[in-house]
Symmetry: C2
């Protein structure tokens, strides 16, 4: 695995979890007070986010950061 | 938990894992090609590192990123 694969796997897992909550990208991004365009890039695996951002996304999904990474298989 | 607590818990877990490998901060930082001063700040919980950096540290410790976060209890 390289860094890009990590981002892509995590983005995919975030999308899956968000879809499972039956909320749109826009609604979810708003709920965690994140710019919609930035959040969209996270789901596409195009952002090397920080721990603080990972934590914010995980919180919004109702998961611990470690659980979210485990869901992503990383 | 807030963002600072996350950083501190993770830094503490990283230090524990590195000490368990019986390598110095300097040796470990060199082994993952990271500036020693930056790595020292990570262990002290003073850096909001990116996913790529988390992955590099976890690799050096022989862990998956999710395992490292779980060790940190976050």
């Amino acid at each position: 695995m390289d860094e890009v694969a990590l981002q892509e796997k995590l983005g995919h897992a975030i999308r899956q979890q968000r879809v499972a909550l039956e909320v749109s990208q826009e609604t979810f991004a708003d709920s965690i007070r994140m710019h919609r365009a930035y959040y969209s890039k996270i789901e596409r695996g195009e952002r090397n986010m920080t721990l603080a951002t990972l934590w914010r996304v995980a919180q919004g999904l109702g998961l611990e950061p470690s659980e979210l990474l485990r869901e992503a298989g990383v």
